[in-house]
Symmetry: C2
Subunit: 412 residues, 2 copies
């Protein structure tokens, strides 16, 4: 009521809001009001895309929900579990929605990310990097008390012994996964070294080995489905052999977890892979769009792009050059290609420093003026999400929710 009463036009009436695809009537809030709506997440029925401060991270809810439904349906249809990787979204709200849709939990890359998820009530956590050093091991034991089903990775006996000692001190039994090196990230060599570690872990009474984790990140981004299938099948094959060799020692194992958005329709056909941990499927990015689909298309379109960055044109130094307010701090920059404009496809983006992007215009491109918006698909979703505190969730042109990226910056 107070908010309705305080609705007013702040600026001169010569300021007209840019047209946006929106069912909401154009309201005239002050920035002070909008700031409060965003802070409280009280945006539904109030704000449209045009109201958001740019650069802003946007989620198209229709595309996001379709992606979640498709991926979880596919993986479960193949009789496998799915524990989507939280390093992609860093957002407890999303982790909870994935679990509500059928996921068994959430992966977290690091202990601090897992702590942020657990604090928000997310359970079924798997910390995919080994927890190293006395303080992080202490944090692992503390997390195990708060969320006892949290799994931790180990890849060497010394750290396993330290984790076991911390678990004993905290009076918990910690479920652990052997992290396997199959050419990517971290882990112990498959085969004999991993089997020896599995045997060693049997001595540690406060750890319970249940899982092998094997992530072939390099396979995920192989361009061309046939070649990607070949690489992933070879790499995951080493993990299947290893978990079978551990079982042959009389050690019961519950799961082999791995796989990615690039290999979801490959790894789910590999006997022995029981759980997938993809992340990017919910958002997608330019990088994944380039890997090619099982349908033979060069554009990998299994999951539509739901994640974008909205910018505003802030300067037009000359007719052929337009500057937007998103640069190196608004987009991931680890890929050798730039953000891709969502509409107006003859427009090319180039980085213009920390704070700006330079747009140039090919044949047929629609001209842009100062104050216009430009929206971009991101080169690489995970490190881009990590730049923002909030995800603005849109249904068409209306803002339906604001989700906190609570684990942003939690790389520890």
């Amino acid at each position: 009521m107070m908010m309705l009463a305080s609705r007013r036009t702040f600026m001169s009436t010569t300021l007209v809001a840019a047209a946006v695809p929106s069912a909401l009537p154009a309201a005239s809030y002050t920035w002070a009001e909008i700031e409060k709506f965003i802070e409280k997440g009280d945006v539904k029925g109030k704000l449209t895309r045009a109201d958001l401060p740019t650069p802003a991270l946007l989620l198209d809810l229709d595309a996001f929900e379709a992606n979640v439904s498709k991926m979880i349906g596919y993986v479960k249809g193949k009789g496998r579990a799915i524990r989507p990787h939280g390093k992609t979204h860093k957002c407890p709200e999303i982790a909870q929605r994935l679990i509500a849709a059928g996921a068994v939990g959430a992966c977290a890359a690091k202990i601090s990310e897992a702590e942020a998820f657990a604090a928000a009530g997310v359970r079924g956590l798997l910390v995919t990097t080994a927890v190293v050093g006395k303080y992080k091991i202490e944090r692992a034991a503390r997390l195990a008390r708060l969320a006892p089903d949290t799994m931790f990775c180990v890849d060497n006996m010394q750290m396993a012994e330290e984790l076991d000692a911390a678990a004993r001190a905290a009076k918990v039994t910690i479920p652990v996964a052997i992290d396997l090196w199959i050419g990517n990230r971290t882990g112990i060599q498959p085969g004999a070294p991993a089997v020896a570690l599995a045997e060693g872990l049997q001595r540690l009474k406060n750890l319970k080995l249940t899982t092998v984790q094997a992530y072939a990140g390099h396979a995920a981004h192989v361009v061309g489905f046939a070649q990607r299938k070949k690489v992933s099948t070879e790499e995951m094959g080493k993990a299947v052999e290893t978990i079978n060799a551990i079982r042959a020692k009389g050690i019961a194992m519950e799961r082999l977890t791995g796989g990615s958005t690039g290999t979801y329709n490959i790894d789910t056909d590999i006997d022995g892979v029981t759980e997938l941990q993809p992340g990017s499927f919910m958002f997608m990015d330019v990088d994944y769009n380039r890997i090619g689909g099982a349908d033979g298309n060069e554009f990998y379109g299994d999951f539509p792009n739901s994640l974008t960055v909205l910018t505003t044109v802030v300067s037009k130094p000359h007719d052929a050059l337009v500057i937007v307010d998103g640069g190196l701090k608004a987009f991931s920059t680890d890929k050798p290609f730039p953000p891709r404009i969502k509409d107006n496809s003859a427009v090319t983006f180039a980085y213009g420093g920390d704070e700006h992007g330079k747009l140039t215009f090919g044949a047929g491109a629609k001209a842009l003026s100062v104050g216009d918006k430009a929206e971009f698909v991101i080169p690489h979703c995970d490190p881009s999400v990590n730049l923002y505190d909030r995800l603005f969730c849109l249904r068409g042109g209306n803002v339906e929710a604001v989700w906190r990226i609570a684990a942003r910056g939690m790389a520890q």
Copy 2:
């Protein structure tokens, strides 16, 4: 007292902290204690480098203080003012220290960054990107009420009119700078277009034109001092000509601001440039180290590297490969070269995904084991600082302070 009383050894005594260069006696805090010390900034005399959760952003205070003293002394010695750019540090604590050391204020890239500085009491702000759109203009007027000496950039008449209307509504007079395009970032063309804008601004009674801003970012990173001097002198020459042409119209102008860490010893010799706005000098990075010095050295060593990222070895998949816990989310990735290890120079870093870095070892490199630390100079300082919430300030091996990067993520 409570903290002293609660000192205790949490883990088994088999855990020995890694040796660090430190004058502090080895204390045994629990993580819960350390977490509180860090949260409160109550770290002096308590924590050492070995206690910090990695990846962590470190500031070598001795190098930082030397850099601040050298740059400010040099620029003031040339009779110019300095308003260091806050987009580099995003840290009010640093802005205040720079002002205490003789800076006239702080630049801020965007309105949200300026708001964060102003809220912490920083004055003498210059927002270096034009404020576009009705809500940001409303924010500008609000900021002008809080911090009346804040300067804003304009580069077109329409936005200037909107800013003037907002200033009138807020009952303030806003000092403005004409932002000049000299090949980089944003702005209006030098010469006649800028002079026409200056004349137009005279009609707007709630804006007061005092300044021309001209930033030749492309000049800043030209490799080789002689060539860099040539480019910067040419580009800044356009700005000098323009401000003189504005003055010739009878318009009094107070300052021409621009310049960078790469051109501080070039632009301060250009007649008419009255103020510098460098940022990187306080931290430095691999990128700036490559541009070459006025002394003829290929390594630009005018300002020692004070900023690093500390990581921990978390996995050793095989003898020739070590994995640290810093990857795409721990370092800027916009440059085509990787982080540079601080010591142990025969070690090479390569990105190993979002969360990890891969270290390989050349001839003479010291081996690293799981649990060891590795510290890196960052490819590009500004976007790296933007990844962290806290800057851990070290004197030798001891942590002396924790400074909040309060404007992190403030790209709006």
